[in-house]
């Protein structure tokens, strides 16, 4: 075991906190690396932090993770800003990332992106007025034979058509109107 877990030393106002269960998971990941090499666990923990703390990495969240790993906050910021998957601004509840790279373009990703822009009333990078959807584009997601496609959280939605996109948006709206109104 390389380091002992503390709950970090984030002093910021909204200090996030992993659940006890998640802390076990965090420790398991840290233990995958030899003594003194626990920084290697950083990316996996950042993914977990995004999942648990609202889909993005706020400064308090990053500081909290730095505290857990006993590294400088700057080491976390450096990583969080280099990798495109990490959101350093708060996105909508549902982030749709449409692949726009060559092979997907050949089979119509431009149509899907345009359709989403019209349906959501946003440009790429924007969040719909109701705060529900953020539209992003992504580079090749390894689904080139099944395009056009988009990623939403851990899920890939492949072989998209505009009808399928509409159905998907409806499903997300339903899911989130029930979950957010309680």
């Amino acid at each position: 075991m390389s380091i002992k877990i503390t709950n970090g030393n984030a002093t910021d106002e909204v200090a996030p906190q992993f659940s006890a269960e998640r802390m076990v998971e965090v420790q398991r990941i840290i233990n995958q690396y030899p003594e003194g090499k626990h920084k290697s666990a950083l990316m996996r923990i950042l993914h977990m932090a995004e999942e648990d703390f609202g889909g993005w990495l706020s400064v308090p969240t990053m500081n909290y993770v730095a505290g857990i790993l006993n590294i400088q906050p700057i080491e976390v910021y450096e990583v969080a800003t280099f990798y495109t998957m990490f959101n350093i601004e708060k996105p909508g509840k549902v982030v749709l990332e449409v692949c726009r790279t060559g092979p997907c373009m050949l089979v119509g990703s431009d149509n899907i992106i345009d359709h989403l822009k019209l349906q959501l009333g946003v440009e790429v990078g924007g969040t719909s007025a109701d705060g529900m959807f953020t539209l992003k584009t992504a580079e090749c997601l390894g689904a080139c034979g099944y395009g056009p496609m988009l990623q939403c959280g851990k899920h890939y939605h492949e072989h998209l058509t505009t009808e399928k996109v509409d159905a998907l948006l409806d499903a997300f709206r339903k899911e989130h109107s029930t979950s957010s109104n309680n």
């Binding site: 995958q32 030899p34 090499k37 920084k39 290697s40 666990a41 950083l42 990316m43 996996r44 950042l46 993914h47 080491e75 450096e78 990583v79 280099f82 990798y83 495109t84 998957m85 990490f86 726009r100 790279t101 060559g102 092979p103 373009m105 050949l106 089979v107 431009d110 149509n111 992106i113 345009d114 359709h115 822009k117 019209l118 440009e123 992504a138 580079e139 090749c140 997601l141 390894g142 689904a143 080139c144 034979g145 099944y146 395009g147 990623q151 851990k154 899920h155």
Partner: protein, 447 residues
């Protein structure tokens, strides 16, 4: 030609679970290696097999393994490159999703050969659900005694785990991968020192692609000589090809190296021809980093001989009229596709993915993207075409890692083979601007 070494059991229900995988002959290579072979024997079998790295560069795996430094008292590491971000490539995902235990088995056998007691799989962060599948397979392998201490009573110990990236193509480059696995930004390192001497945490390290590691399993089971019988010349064994673009049946196929390109594209056993009854216009046979081939050079070489799915045949003609097998990302374009648009799209990809350390790559990829954008949208002039060639020359060979070359060469190839199409965009600006991709009304105003 439907032989399958890696995907033989891919459609067996439940093959992702340990029980079913084991019932179908899984983990035999570990038994054979640990019980009957020395690590050096395993390396020799891999050398005899002629296996070449399946990640893109095609470097002989046995030779790479023999370069691994073995200083006393220093740990060595095996890293599996599951970053798979080369546009057009989706074979590693297929393999990991469908038969995760094959990768785990390959990691154990390969780690034994290299004398590693710790190995990692680095997987792109977007494949988080695939990570979960592989992680489950790893846990099952531990539970059944294939990982951990004293495996099969052989005295050999191995720990294996999987780590995610965060969305950066450059982390597929082996030294960037190592940096990333150390929890840092994915900036490639200057070589030498090579990872075989100084890799993860400064220790000797081998980095191999998912498919390369998986291929070690049949090589150890059946013997390197048997594997080497498949294929042609220095292209031995089977290869996973991920076929995409305008095809009737895009998907992941395992083929014997040596199948003809024509058969691969048109036969019903493979891709089933070009979609919607259209004609073939061009093909990028090995992922976005390799040169594009115009229709007349796809199925035949410039000499008029049949083009085959081998490292050598796809490269025949060199830069002038050849390409590369690369990662096996086989991208097919039908007659309606615009080569300028595609070239711009790929250039934008590289500009986006440049890590920014070297100015020729950081600035050059950005300039190429801008110039190609204006050509594509009818704002370019004829000098722009030569300007691209010039930027190209200033990037290639002047960067820390091969991403710069990977960005430059495809642009050069597209201009070489499709110059008229670039010129058409200049001489017909109105039509070029009107070309309607997507729903034109919603397009962002063009620069």
């Amino acid at each position: 030609m439907g032989r399958k070494l890696l995907l033989e059991h891919v459609n067996v229900p439940g093959i992702e679970t340990y029980e079913v995988y084991r019932k179908n002959g899984g983990y035999r290579s570990v038994e054979k290696a640990l019980k009957t072979m020395s690590p050096q024997n395993v390396v020799e079998e891999v050398q005899a097999s002629g296996l070449r790295g399946r990640g893109g560069a095609g470097f002989p795996t046995g030779m790479k393994w023999s370069f691994l430094a073995k200083p006393e008292g220093v740990p060595r590491y095996l890293l599996c490159n599951a970053d798979e971000s080369e546009p057009g490539t989706f074979k590693d995902r297929y393999l990991m999703e469908k038969i995760p235990h094959l990768l785990v088995e390959g990691m154990i056998t390969s780690s034994y050969a290299l004398g590693c007691n710790q190995a990692y799989i680095y997987i792109r962060g977007e494949y988080m659900w695939v990570l979960e599948i592989v992680e489950k397979a790893i846990a099952e392998a531990y539970a059944n005694g294939w990982l951990g201490k004293n495996i099969l009573g052989s005295g050999y110990d191995l720990d294996l785990s999987i780590a995610p990236g965060g969305g950066a193509y450059i982390c597929g480059e082996e030294t960037a991968l190592i940096e990333s696995l150390e929890g840092k930004r994915g900036n490639p390192r200057i070589k030498p020192p090579f990872p075989a001497v100084k890799g993860l945490w400064g220790c000797p390290t081998v980095v191999n692609n998912v498919e390369t590691i998986a291929a070690v399993v049949p090589i150890v089971n059946d013997g390197g000589a048997e594997y080497a019988k498949i294929g042609i010349g220095k292209s031995t064994g089977t290869k996973l090809i991920s076929a995409c673009g305008n095809l009737v049946k895009p998907g992941v196929y395992e083929l014997d190296l040596g199948v003809s390109v024509e058969e691969f594209i048109y036969s019903d056993e493979w891709c089933g021809g070009i979609a919607n009854g259209k004609k073939l216009k061009a093909c990028v046979p090995g992922g976005s980093s390799v040169p594009i081939l115009p229709a007349n050079l796809v199925c035949k070489t410039a000499e008029g001989t049949d083009r085959l799915m081998t490292y050598e045949s796809l490269a025949e003609g060199g830069f002038a009229s050849g390409s590369m097998l690369g990662s096996g990302g086989f991208i097919v374009f039908d007659e309606d596709q615009c080569i300028v648009r595609n070239t711009w799209n790929f250039a934008r990809f590289y500009a986006h993915e440049s890590c920014g350390q070297c100015s020729p790559c950081r600035e050059g990829t950005g300039w190429m993207e801008k110039v190609l954008h204006r050509l594509e949208y009818g704002h370019g002039n004829l000098r722009d075409i030569d300007l691209l060639a010039e930027i190209n020359k200033k990037i290639e060979g002047n960067t820390i890692c091969p991403l710069g070359d990977a960005a430059a060469w495809p642009v050069a190839a597209a201009i070489r083979h499709f110059r008229e199409e670039f010129e058409w965009h200049v001489t017909n600006p109105d039509e070029a601007q009107k070309r309607n991709f997507g729903i034109a009304s919603a397009h962002v105003p063009l620069v």
